[in-house]
Amino acid sequence: MKAHLLVGPALALALNACATPVPPAVTSYTAVACASAPDLARAVALPAGKPRGEVVRTAVDGTTPCLDVAGFKTPYVVYAIPTLANRMIDVGGAIEAARAFPPAVSILGADGQPMRTLPANQFYHRGDRVSVQFIPQEGERYILITVDPALVGTSYSAVATGVSVTYIGVGINSWTSGVDETVSRGRSYHGAVLATVYDTSPEPASRPNRRRD
C-alpha cells in the first residue's frame, strides 16, 4: 500500500469536517484482555449482495473486541461470508477526514483457521476506503479484519482534489469551484471497517426502470 495513494472523494470528508468534530486518529492501543482467537459467534453476517454492491459498515472503537496475535494487540471484526455463488467481496478500512483504518485481512475456514491472508500489496484506495477485493473460494467462511501492524500509528499525506458547491442565495443558484489541497491522515486503531458484497451473477436483478443514462 503506497503512501501517496488517495481516495478522490475523500476531500469532501475533509471539507465537511470543518463544521463537525473530526474523529482523531487513535495511534496507540491500550486493550488488556485480548483473545487469542476470534470469536466466530460474533461474526457479522454479510448480506447476499447486489449487482452494484451492498455495503456493511462496522465501527471500530473502544468496545470492539481485540485479538492478541503473537503479542500484538489489535481490534478485530469478523464477517461471515454469504454461502452463495457468484459473489465478489470488497473489504477494507474506511478513510475518514483525519484518519484511516489500516486493514489486514485473512480468510478463515468454518473452523476459524486461516485459509489465506490477502497480501498488503493488493490493497488499494477505492473511493471511501482502502480495500482488497476477492472472490470467495471453496471452504472459505469468514473474513477476519485486524489492523495492519506495519502501518497502524503511522500517517500519510496526499493531494486531494474536489469541488465545492456554494449556494449564493438567489433562487436556486449555486456556484461550483475547485479545491486542491494536501490532506494528512493518521492510520488509526479506531475507525470503521467496510465490506461490500457484489452479486456477479450473469443476469443481475436490479431496479429495472432505473435510467440507463
Binding site: H4, L5, L6, V7, G8, P9, K50, P51, R52, G53, E54, V55, M88, D90, P119, N121, Q122, Y124, H125, R126, G127, D128, Q133, F134, I135, Q137, A158, V159, A160, T161, G162, V163, S164, V165, Y167, G171, I172, N173, S174, W175, T176, S177, G178, V179, D180, T182, T196, Y198, T200, P204, S206, R207, P208, N209, R210, R211, R212, D213
Partner: protein, 444 residues
C-alpha cells in the same frame, strides 16, 4: 448553476411562481386526500411556498413536473425530508388530467437517481396511505418494498401511512459500464448535435468551429460532477493452476489527443453557454500543452506501453506489445486476436483520457489518466481480471482504484506548463508508471 432534469416527456425543475395555479388545482381535487388535501387555494399557497422554501434554503425539494409537449405544470415529484419525517422521501402527486399516463413513474425514476447520485441519499422512502393503490403500485414498480406502518410528524400525525422504500445499494445500475460519465455525456450531447457523429478526432467533425471532442470533454466534466455516486464493479484476478508468465499487451491504449480539463471552471457555472466557452478554452489549452510536449521527446502511447512491459517484467511476467490498430471507440475490444501459442493472456488497456487537470479556476494543474484494464485468457477469451485505475480523477465511481497525483508534478498555470515541457512530459510518465504498476500488480 440551475438544477433541471429532463426525461423523455418531462422537464423537472424547482418550484417557480408560475406553478401555483396547477399546484392549487391539484390540492383542491379530491385525489389530494392522500397528500394533505383537499384544501382551498389560499391554504395550498402555504404548502407551495414551503416547497419553494425547501429549494431555496436546503437546495432540494420536489421537482415541478413540466410536460414538454404542452409546457404545463402537471404535478410534483422528488425529494422531501421535513423535520420529523420518517425518512428521506421521494414523493409524487399529479393532476388528475395527467394521472395514469406514466408521468409519475418517469419523474420518480429521474428524481430517485438524482437523490441517490447528487444528494448522496442512501435510502429512499415513500409514505403512502394504505388506500392509495395507484401510489402503492408505483412504489412497487420503482422497486421499493413495504417496510411496515409509519408515523408522520404534526400536523399529519393522524394520517395512516405505510412506508415503502429502497436503499441505494438495492436500486440502480447493475454495474456501471466503463466510463459511464462519458456515456452520460454522449447522451446529453446527442439531442443537441443529432446529425453529428461523436468522434475522438480533434479536427473533424466539428460544430461551428468547436471540435466535437471539446464539447464532448466539456459534457464529460459536467456529467462527472454528478456521477460520483455511481459504482464500478471490478473482476479481481484469481490465480489458476497454471501461472501466467507470458502476456501480450493490446495497443492503442490512449486517445489521440491530450486532455486539459479544468473541472469546476468559472464557465462551468453557466450551463451550455459555459460549456461552449469551456470547449474553446480547453481547445486552446490542449494545443498549448501539445505544442510544449512536441519540443521534447515524448510519445505517450509508446511510453505507457513500455511501462506496462517493464511493470510485468518486474513481476516475472514476459510481456510484449501486440499491434492492434486504431480503436474505433475508447472501449475494450469486442474481438481478440487469434491465439498464436506465444502468450497465455491478452491485456486489453484503454484510457478514456490522459493529460492534465485542475480542480477549478485558480487551482494547480496536475497529471491525470483514467484507464481500464482487462486480462483475457488465451485461448478462450475469458475475462481473468478487470479493473479501472483512476490517477488523479475527480469523482471516480465507487469501486475504482484511485491514485493521488505525485505532488512533484504541479503547474500553477499554462505559462508554467509551456516553460517546462520536460517536467510536463515527466508528469504524464509518472501517471503512466503508477497505472502500469497497478495493472501488473493486480494479476499477482
Amino acid at each position: 448553476m440551475s438544477i433541471q432534469l429532463e426525461t423523455e416527456r418531462l422537464i423537472l425543475r424547482p418550484t417557480a411562481v408560475a406553478d401555483f395555479d396547477g399546484w392549487a388545482e391539484l390540492m383542491a381535487d379530491s385525489s389530494s386526500r392522500f397528500v394533505g388535501g383537499p384544501v382551498s387555494r389560499e391554504a395550498s399557497w402555504r404548502g407551495f411556498m414551503a416547497m419553494a422554501g425547501a429549494w431555496a434554503i436546503q437546495g432540494y425539494g420536489m421537482f415541478s413536473m413540466i410536460e414538454k409537449a404542452s409546457g404545463k405544470w402537471i404535478g410534483r415529484t422528488g425529494p422531501w425530508y421535513p423535520e420529523g419525517w420518517p425518512g428521506t422521501e421521494v414523493g409524487w402527486g399529479v393532476l388528475p388530467s395527467a394521472a395514469g399516463k406514466g408521468f409519475a413513474h418517469e419523474a420518480a425514476v429521474a428524481s430517485m437517481d438524482w437523490a441517490f447520485d447528487t444528494l448522496g441519499w442512501t435510502d429512499i422512502i415513500h409514505s403512502i396511505d394504505p388506500d392509495n393503490a395507484p401510489s402503492i403500485a408505483l412504489a412497487e414498480r420503482l422497486g421499493s418494498t413495504y417496510r411496515g406502518p409509519g408515523k408522520l410528524p404534526a400536523p399529519y400525525e393522524h394520517f395512516t401511512v405505510g412506508l415503502w422504500g429502497q436503499t441505494r445499494e438495492h436500486g440502480g445500475r447493475a454495474a456501471a459500464e466503463p466510463f459511464a460519465s462519458e456515456t452520460i455525456a454522449k447522451k446529453a450531447l446527442a439531442p443537441l448535435f443529432s446529425s453529428i457523429k461523436l468522434s475522438d478526432s480533434k479536427t473533424t467533425p466539428n460544430t461551428g468551429g468547436y471540435p466535437m471532442k471539446r464539447l464532448f470533454a466539456a459534457a464529460v466534466l459536467a456529467a462527472s460532477l454528478s456521477a460520483c455516486a455511481s459504482t464500478y464493479r471490478a473482476t479481481p484476478y484469481v490465480a489458476g493452476p497454471q501461472p501466467i508468465t507470458r502476456v501480450a499487451i493490446l495497443d492503442d491504449s490512449l486517445p489521440e489527443g491530450i486532455s486539459a480539463i479544468e473541472v469546476a471552471s468559472i464557465a462551468s457555472n453557466f450551463g451550455l453557454i459555459g460549456a461552449l466557452i469551456n470547449a474553446g478554452v480547453e481547445d486552446s489549452r490542449e494545443d498549448a500543452i501539445e505544442a510544449a510536449l512536441a519540443t521534447v521527446s515524448f510519445d505517450a502511447e509508446a511510453d505507457i506501453e513500455r511501462m506496462l512491459v517493464e511493470a510485468f517484467s518486474a513481476n516475472g511476467v514476459q510481456a510484449h506489445v501486440a499491434t492492434n490498430g486504431r480503436r474505433a471507440e475508447r472501449k475494450f475490444l469486442v474481438n481478440y486476436p487469434t491465439a498464436d501459442g506465444q502468450v497465455q493472456a491478452y491485456l486489453d488497456v484503454v484510457a478514456a483520457h490522459y493529460g492534465y487537470t485542475s480542480a477549478g479556476h485558480g487551482q494547480p494543474w496536475r497529471p491525470t489518466a483514467d484507464v481500464m484494464v482487462r486480462l483475457v485468457s488465451v485461448p478462450g477469451n475469458r475475462t481473468l481480471m478487470e479493473n479501472r485505475i483512476a490517477y488523479n480523477v475527480m469523482n471516480a465511481p465507487r469501486g475504482v482504484i484511485t491514485i493521488a497525483p505525485d505532488p512533484e508534478f504541479i503547474f500553477n498555470n499554462r505559462e508554467e506548463m509551456r516553460a517546462d515541457p520536460q517536467k510536463l512530459a515527466n508528469g504524464l510518465r509518472s501517471a503512466f508508471r503508477e497505472v502500469a504498476s497497478t495493472a501488473a500488480n493486480l494479476m499477482r
